[in-house]
């Protein structure tokens, strides 16, 4: 009984003590504090200040009074989004609150004319097609010897093996056209995982450098990005990768990885030039935002942020092509792939 009393007293003491530390009586952070939090977090972690020539101090000085003067959360969110749009980075966004829509910079390539339409591909060039279990891979034979494989996005994870199934089904193909035009990116790890289905050996296809200090020039050492044989259905024939200005982020990683392989030719247009690896952060009021934390480099240590990755074979296309039922880039790839 004595022990029970002692234990009860200690529990009560603990409970009493907890009341003093469980919550912060200061309550909701002020708008100025929220702005300062966001500005500082970008200052500490964003990777492209120097590369993009952004004067972050000036942007902070410009937008802070507007943030402080905001009358509602919606107004504050809009001011913060305006400041972040100045970075011209599709990987930067802010989601103010549970019900707020994510706001971010939209590249001109996202809002401009569409030069390739999958409906044209599958109605005219690959009339018989199959879709993988998760819907991430759509494929078929474009000619008796050329297979076609579309990867519309790299979202999600764990579906790289569906490319194995596609390669098996395209068994008659001597060459394969892989289409990542209009692919907005997704899971960074999928790019080398899928490219590995076409790799003969391990090759370094690029490098990453992450911010690791408070100065805008503080970066960790270069991390090699490697593509190596993966999967149980490796394809050893020639591969033509279709890319364009709507190939973003992980799709560009995929192009970079594939380009390092000796059996690959990139056809079409330059990619979007969105290379930053995004991380998620949050503000003291629970709002979340995303920012680029790394810079990605080609094997020759050049960046492709904003400039994109150029193709081996450039194909001039017209905005009217989809409406005319024409896909010039695919036609070019099929021509290159066809036996002479």
């Amino acid at each position: 009984v004595k022990h029970v009393r002692i234990a009860a007293l200690l529990v009560l003491a603990l409970a009493a003590g907890c009341q003093g530390v469980a919550t912060d009586p200061a309550g909701t952070a002020s708008r100025a504090a929220l702005f300062d939090d966001l500005w500082r977090e970008f200052d500490l972690h964003y990777s492209f200040f120097e590369l993009k020539g952004v004067n972050w101090d000036s942007l902070g000085a410009h937008y802070r009074p507007r943030a402080v003067a905001a009358r509602t959360d919606a107004e504050l969110g809009a001011v913060l989004a305006q400041m972040l749009v100045e970075l011209r980075d599709v990987h930067v966004s802010i989601t103010p609150g549970d019900d707020g829509a994510t706001m971010r910079y939209r590249s001109p390539f996202e809002t401009g004319a569409i030069y390739a339409d999958s409906r044209v591909v599958f109605s005219r060039y690959v009339p018989t097609s199959h879709t993988s279990a998760s819907g991430h891979v759509r494929y078929g034979m474009a000619t008796p010897t050329v297979g076609y494989l579309s990867l519309p996005n790299f979202t999600g994870s764990g579906w790289a093996n569906e490319v194995d199934d596609a390669i098996k089904d395209l068994g008659a193909a001597e060459s394969i056209v892989i289409d990542v035009r209009g692919n907005g990116g997704g899971n960074h790890a999928l790019a080398p995982a899928i490219a590995g289905r076409f790799a003969d050996r391990a090759r370094t296809f690029g490098y990453l450098r992450r911010r690791d200090g408070p100065s805008h020039a503080d970066f960790a050492n270069y991390e090699a990005e490697v593509v190596e044989p993966a999967g149980d259905s490796r394809f050893n024939g020639h591969v033509y990768v279709l890319a364009d200005r709507r190939s973003f982020s992980t799709a560009e990683d995929f192009v970079l990885a594939m380009r390092s392989l000796p059996t690959v030719t990139v056809v079409g247009d330059t990619t979007a030039g969105a290379s930053g690896g995004p991380i998620v952060r949050e503000l003291a009021n629970g709002w979340t935002y995303q920012l680029s934390e790394w810079i990605e480099y080609t094997p020759t240590f050049t960046t492709f942020e904003d400039s994109g990755i150029s193709p081996d074979v450039v194909v001039q296309v017209k905005p009217t092509d989809p409406s005319l039922g024409v896909d010039r880039a695919l036609e070019k790839a099929l021509m290159l792939a066809s036996p002479r």
Binding site: L10, V21, L44, G213, L283
Partner: protein, 264 residues
């Protein structure tokens, strides 16, 4: 994270002198080896700016295993302890569904010298060293439900003081400790595969401020075993570019068992 460390830590501290005090209470000055096992919970607040500017609060649970050995006719005491704690934290102030899961482990060694005090009480002063690792899994409340892992490691060294006195049929012990130097690994960002970013830093009291105090009561021994009750409070501030602040109140309960006397 430190709060967790503190908890086992505290418990351990408590135990060490408790054994001695109990021995005194029984009129014995024998050198004794003791093994103690404690479990309990703590209420903690934490703010690791590397993960989030939001303060998080939550309940942790954990256990501690400790071994004490008297040396040199009970003039010295060496104490070894190992502890593990885990907990789930929610934002303390904001209405955000963000969550943190914390796992923390620490080993500790201390060497104390006993000094006689008035009315059968005893003081002990010495030095304590700790090595601990804290793994935080932070679940962001963004549309993609992003999860990031953060690792913090710390090896510290600092003074420790205890006061033990007979109380009723048992013994009461108060202990205070505060590391004065630490080798801290507080990475700049979350940990990811392929990235081995470490930010080791030797920190003194200006940057690394950790202090804890505990009150422990040990009941009268029966069949060589006693019951321990420990309350501990601990605070930690690490003045990094992205600072770390933690505080915790812990309550531990357990048993201690004498493993034998070396000699009278």
């Amino acid at each position: 994270m430190k709060r967790l460390l503190a908890m086992p830590f505290a418990a351990w501290l408590c135990l060490a002198p408790v054994g001695v005090a109990a021995a005194q209470a029984n009129g014995s000055a024998a050198r004794e080896n003791e093994l103690a096992l404690l479990a309990g919970f703590s209420r903690s607040n934490r703010l690791d700016a590397t993960a989030s500017p939001m303060p998080f609060a939550g309940l942790e649970h954990g256990f501690l295993v400790k071994y004490d050995r008297s040396l040199h006719d009970d003039q010295m005491l060496i104490s070894l302890a190992s502890s593990f704690h885990a907990g789930r934290f929610s934002p303390a102030n904001a209405s955000s569904p963000a969550v943190e899961h914390l796992n923390e482990g620490e080993v500790r060694a201390a060497l104390l010298r006993h000094v006689s005090g008035p009315h059968g009480s005893r003081f002990a002063v010495g030095v304590a060293g700790t090595a601990g690792v804290s793994l935080t899994q932070h679940h962001y409340a963004d549309p993609t439900s992003r999860v990031s892992d953060f690792v913090i490691g710390a090896t510290t060294l600092g003074p420790e003081a205890t006061w033990t006195a007979p109380l009723g049929a048992g013994a009461l012990k108060i202990d205070i400790t505060s590391p004065v130097v630490g080798l801290i690994d507080h990475p700049y960002s979350d940990s990811r595969s392929g990235s081995a970013l470490t930010h080791l830093r030797l920190a003194g009291p200006g940057a690394y401020q950790r202090a804890s105090g505990a009150v422990t009561y040990m009941s009268r021994e029966r069949y060589g075993a006693g019951v321990l009750y420990t309350y501990r409070y601990e605070r930690l501030t690490y003045g990094d570019v992205q600072p770390l602040h933690t505080s915790s109140h812990s309550f531990l309960i357990g048993v201690t068992k004498k493993l034998g006397k070396d000699s009278p």
